[in-house]
């Protein structure tokens, strides 16, 4: 129908350039249209007594439009379009051969069968009549095959569209590729199509046309879409886990979500399925040191379409190291006692404390040797940065020298440690911190006044951001946890700390009698580290006003000190963005090497020693990253499925700088179980960004004709007349006919 009216297929109009071929300039055309319109307007005004104003304007509009159309035709409109030369161009037909194509959701047949049928029923023939056709199967990459192999059932464990297209782009450098046709469900496992691939395709000018198979949504399915846990933690710590669910057709039902280590369930929660996407926060205990294999699972619901996507695994490196926290307290107070007691009961933390008992005397506890901190608060960065965390109590800001204040700031910013500021009569605003560089690192805007500390018993409660935080978890059950915070004894004192800064999170609040709520615990990421303000020195009443068997306060302080140090890097810090290789084998490593003052260190020799299943034992030397000083990168291929450990060491001529451990695992045969619905959005964007089009199987019949209009490969430009399109004649007749009918009706013919 479209071609009947417009003479050419739609692709001509969308890909061509419009031209006016007459030698006269366009402004003359516009001038004539305006003059014609004016003339007609003058003419119709002469018969004003016969017609109302609305009718006069209607008649004038139709006449002017007709004049404009006729004048436009005199200027000889045409369209210039590039077309591929017949049989001189190659069209790559890429058929998705991943296991998700075996899902039977195309009118009773599999996606692969539907694609095969489309190709057999004329598409391949029509393509063959105009182009040289190359057939490719793709999964992890594109493989050129003959027709027999091309139509064999899908067997690939992954779908990597970007990699497959890069393969085609590479081939196109020596061959005239005119277009690529992708028959796929778009269920990509590599995290999408990166910008570099799109750029590469644009350079080759190959339009990628996509034909999508499969339903956008499954009928009934609950999928564990993501499972977020920290890569590493300290033994015995609470871990925050977040299980992201995606469901279709199960709204209103209940689902049980568990996180388990082998057969042992560490956390579970039954949730109401209310939205298509929802996250389930869980808090669990990391247990003893070692690699923790966690599996997040949602119990299958009755008649679920796909139960293979109900579980996801992650690996957590539970470290047995004993980080050191330095606690500086400016006056004897009860909170100090109970912080120390909590640390004494924590086998994973060494709390080194210095307490100003008199103006000139400091009492030290938890020191490694008698000389530690003998001269007072560290004066050199390498001394302060030897600690992993820092707590600053009720200590006047000017007790620290300006250099020490800068060091405290850099402790979080550069060293990557955690710094906690406690409330107190010499703390925060009252301690003069507002006028120091330290104010910048605080997660709150300190008030300008210096009377912010109040010795008033006050209740506390969780803020919304604290409901799911492991830091504020004093009961394993999230509902009971919220209630317990409200029922805990009043704290002995509180301090106004001002509003939280953008990016900061208020986890708990104080409800002072007669005042509005004010932040109790506020945290934020700062530089490479993190900072927190606990606006009280009176949590100790939680212990003195509770049964002695109640260890809530000790747990709170242990969690708080662990939060300070959990993510504190050493001088050598190794990481990988892929802790679980889902049907992949390449693991990228990134190692940051710093000196004792935590300045990036160039010129180090960095090696990773891998130990894996079945005696896998290999070494990889990492190379300095081009753009970042002190960063070393490398990629290693994990030969088989299983859990791996990489010990990274960095050294220079003066000896070993430090070492770190990274754990990861390779899982085979899992990736295709997830995101198995058709990713139409991805395919549409891919086509749009490369100059191609997205087609449903039904729309793909005309694909061979439409892809002929392309500038890729060997093409020629055609100039196509537009004046003789049937639609033009119909339009002219329509305008004139409408005017005549209206005139007849209004009796002015």
């Amino acid at each position: 129908m479209f071609e009947l009216l417009f003479k050419y297929p739609p692709a001509v109009f969308s890909r061509g350039h419009y031209l006016l071929l007459a030698p006269l300039p366009v402004w003359v055309l516009l001038l004539l249209v305006i003059a014609g319109g004016a003339l007609l307007f003058w003419n119709i005004r002469r018969h004003a007594h016969l017609l109302s104003q609305v009718r006069r304007i209607t008649i004038w509009s139709l006449e002017t439009a007709l004049i404009a159309l006729l004048l436009l035709l005199l200027w000889h409109p045409a369209i210039s379009v590039a077309t591929l030369r017949p049989q001189q161009n190659i069209v790559a037909v890429l058929l998705d051969s991943s296991r998700s194509m075996a899902i039977k959701d195309e009118d009773g047949q599999t996606r692969f069968d539907a694609a095969s049928k489309l190709l057999h029923n004329g598409l391949l023939d029509s393509l063959g009549r105009r182009f040289q056709v190359r057939l490719y199967r793709f999964g992890a990459d594109a493989e050129r095959v003959d027709q027999t192999r091309f139509f064999q059932p899908p067997d690939a464990n992954v779908t990597r569209i970007a990699q497959s297209l890069r393969d085609i782009a590479t081939e196109s450098t020596s061959l005239p590729f005119g277009a690529a046709i992708l028959l796929t469900d778009g269920a990509e496992n590599a995290g999408g199509i990166d910008f570099a691939t799109i750029q590469r395709l644009r350079q080759t000018r190959i339009p990628v046309n996509t034909i999508g198979f499969g339903k956008d949504k499954l009928r009934r399915d609950v999928e564990v879409e993501d499972f977020a846990v920290p890569q590493r933690t300290l033994a015995g710590s609470r871990i925050e886990a977040r299980v992201a669910l995606h469901q279709t057709g199960c709204t209103g039902e209940k689902a049980r979500v568990t996180v388990a280590d082998g057969d042992k369930i560490l956390a579970s929660e039954t949730v109401d399925l209310t939205h298509e996407n929802q996250a389930v926060p869980l808090v669990l205990n990391a247990g003893p040191a070692g690699a923790l294999n966690l599996v997040a699972r949602v119990d299958p619901l009755p008649n679920e379409d796909n139960v293979q996507n109900n579980a996801l695994s992650r690996l957590v490196n539970v470290s047995g190291r004993k980080p050191r926290v330095l606690y500086v307290e400016g006056e004897p107070r009860w909170e100090y006692k109970f912080i120390r007691r909590a640390a004494d009961d924590d086998p994973q933390i060494q709390l080194v404390s210095m307490l100003r008992t008199t103006p000139n005397k400091i009492y030290r506890q938890g020191v490694s040797d008698p000389s530690e901190l003998e001269a007072g608060f560290p004066a050199k960065p390498e001394e302060l940065f030897a600690y992993d965390g820092l707590i600053i109590g009720s200590t006047e800001a000017n007790w620290f020298t300006p250099a020490q204040q800068d060091m405290i700031k850099e402790f979080a910013g550069r060293r990557g440690g955690g710094v906690l500021f406690l409330g107190g009569r010499f703390a925060l605003s009252d301690g003069g911190y507002g006028a120091t560089p330290i104010a910048e690192m605080l997660p709150v805007h300190l008030p300008a006044t210096q009377t912010t500390f109040q010795r008033v018993y006050s209740n506390t409660e969780l803020a919304p951001a604290g409901l799911d935080s492991a830091l504020t978890r004093i009961d394993d059950d999230p509902v009971k946890n919220e209630q317990r915070w409200k029922k805990m004894p009043e704290i002995a004192n509180w301090q106004a700390v001002g509003d939280p800064k953008p990016g900061a999170a208020v986890l708990a609040e104080i409800i002072p009698p007669g005042h509005r709520k004010t932040p109790l615990l506020t945290t934020e990421a700062y530089g490479r580290g993190r900072t927190a303000v606990l606006a009280t020195g009176g949590m100790w009443r939680w212990q003195m006003r509770s049964e002695h068997t109640d260890k809530t306060l000790a747990s709170f302080w242990q969690q708080m000190t662990r939060w300070l140090v959990n993510d504190t890097p050493g001088t050598v810090s190794a990481s990988t963005p892929k802790q679980v290789l889902a049907d992949e084998d390449k693991v990228p490593l990134r190692v940051e090497v710093r000196d004792k003052t935590y300045q990036p260190l160039a010129g180090a020799v960095v090696q990773a020693h891998f130990i894996g299943p079945d005696g896998v034992n290999a070494t990889l030397q990492l190379q300095p990253a081009a753009s970042e000083t002190g960063v070393y990168t490398g990629e290693w291929t994990a030969p088989r499925a299983g859990a791996y450990l990489a010990e990274v060491t960095a050294s220079n001529p003066s000896g070993e700088i430090g070492r770190d451990v990274v754990t990861f695992r390779r899982d085979d045969g899992v990736a295709e179980n997830f995101r198995s619905t058709q990713n139409r959005d991805l395919l549409e964007k891919l086509s749009a960004q490369t100059g191609g089009h997205y087609y449903t199987p039904r729309e793909a019949r005309h694909l061979a004709d439409e892809i002929a209009y392309s500038e890729a490969g060997i093409s020629e430009h055609e100039l196509l007349d537009l004046w003789d399109m049937p639609i033009v004649l119909l339009l002219a007749l329509g305008l004139r006919g409408s005017e005549w009918l209206l005139r007849r009706r209004w009796g002015i013919v």
Partner: protein, 267 residues
Amino acid sequence: MRVRIALPAIVVLCFSISAVFAFQAQFKQYPGEEDNPTTVPPGAFERTEWTFARLRYPSGRYTEYAGERGTWPTDFPKADRQFLQGVRRLTRIHTRSTEQVIDMNTDEVYNWPWVYAVEVGHWDLTDAQVKMMREYFLRGGFLMVDDFHGTYEWEVFVASMSRIFPDRPIVEIEDKDPIFHVLYDLENRVQVPGLQYVYSGKVYEKDGVVPHWRGIYDDRGRLMVTMCFNQDDGDAWEHADNPQYPEKYTSQAYRLGINYIIYAMTH
């Protein structure tokens, strides 16, 4: 309209009432029970981190010489306030100028993790008080007892103490214990006598010739109860301004008391 006006008034009143009760217990005088009355110094009602908390215990059947008021206010309140002056001057502990009397018939003791009891050779705790003190110590509370002498008073003290902790021994505190070093090094301690020394020249009372610094430890090796047995630090504080009372005893009593406070606030 009346409801509109009354409702905010009620809310404000509730806030005000709750604000009054939300503070730590305030200083209160005990006019009929003061052993050595003195003026109320400025800053008596200040709210502070710590103050001298004196345990108001029952003397029960052992009150024959002290009368109805019992033995708890011995040296009170002058000893308390003079000692507090020293704590304020010598340390960074935030303390008010007056003591806090802790009535053992309430649970107020849980708000004061350091308490002092004098003449405990005459105390006689009820079952409820025994239970409360045991819980107090296990939660983290600290008790300094003082001014009891000789075999008889020791036995009376132990009679109640062994009901609090039947399972924990009373031991001599070793010189190397942090409590003798937390601020002042106190390896070389002397027996601190009461005021009777000024008249008798004797540093001991009854048959308490040998001074003892004893204590009860918790499971983590931290002192919960400390006993200054056959000594009278309370008198040394009380008579710190008495020219006849030797300064060396007062000095040690101050140092010891301060060490005990700082120990309690750090262990």
